[in-house]
Symmetry: C2
Subunit: 149 residues, 2 copies
């Protein structure tokens, strides 16, 4: 099932993928469960907030990004084994219902695991953009990747 292993990944390689349509229903559903601040729940309140309109929780944008990443990994047969953490997230612009999100990624570093000889760690930077080409979020992430064999 896996086709792309640690050895197949080059620092500097880029990719572009995903198309996630953001809906008002999903923005409100996520916020109701996980981030019930009024600018993520109430359209009238949001108009007078710093964001200017109802917008997605940054954690919802992160989750939508992850869904695009997982779909892409599975399509590729990427031998990902989970993530130990994130080096940083910038929420650059609000994400609104009606937006369609896409991702551009670049591999920034790779190294073998010291403690586990069968895996490596890959660092990548992900730019999440909306349909206007605006960068709404930047994420500097890490993923553990299986080696061949």
């Amino acid at each position: 099932m896996f086709k792309i292993f640690y050895e197949d990944i080059d620092v500097g390689q880029t990719d572009a993928f995903g198309a996630y349509a953001v809906t008002k229903e999903e923005v409100i559903d996520f916020a109701s469960k996980y981030d019930p601040q009024p600018f993520h729940l109430d359209e009238e309140f949001a108009k007078h907030s710093v964001f200017g309109a109802l917008c997605a929780s940054g954690w919802h944008t992160s989750a939508m990004m992850m869904r695009m990443m997982v779909d892409h990994m599975m399509e590729q047969g990427f031998a990902g084994l989970g993530s130990p953490g994130i080096d940083g997230i910038d929420w650059k612009k609000p994400v609104f219902p009606g937006d369609t999100l896409t991702i551009e990624s670049e591999v920034t570093a790779k190294r073998e695991s010291q403690s586990r000889p069968n895996i490596g760690l890959v660092k990548s930077t992900y730019h999440v953009k909306n349909q206007h080409g605006d960068v709404v979020m930047i994420m500097r992430g890490n993923v553990m990747v299986a080696k061949r064999g």
Copy 2:
């Protein structure tokens, strides 16, 4: 409605709050929508994975943390205006159905906004722990906070 403003926050102050019961249904529901990797969806598969059992997506743990933070902010009347981003996340240990998560936080820095004289930026580190006292996640976050008046 707001009671705690930028001026009321001291670097070094600590807090402890939250009690989020993690359920299998919610772990699978979140993963189905946002992180459909098999160790977050399939108990049998997860037994043979690096995690040893079905566990929550790291983004789900982040979302559960955020819910505890927002509930706490609202209870306190904290004048939070959203976040420009995250300085880092470490997912230290897996989060399993049946776990109860709590948060310990510490304010690490604060500064006034250069561009917007009515707000300040506060940095805090959040340790998310399970019922055994294990740290499952560390998040170094930023929040914009309104000044008084």
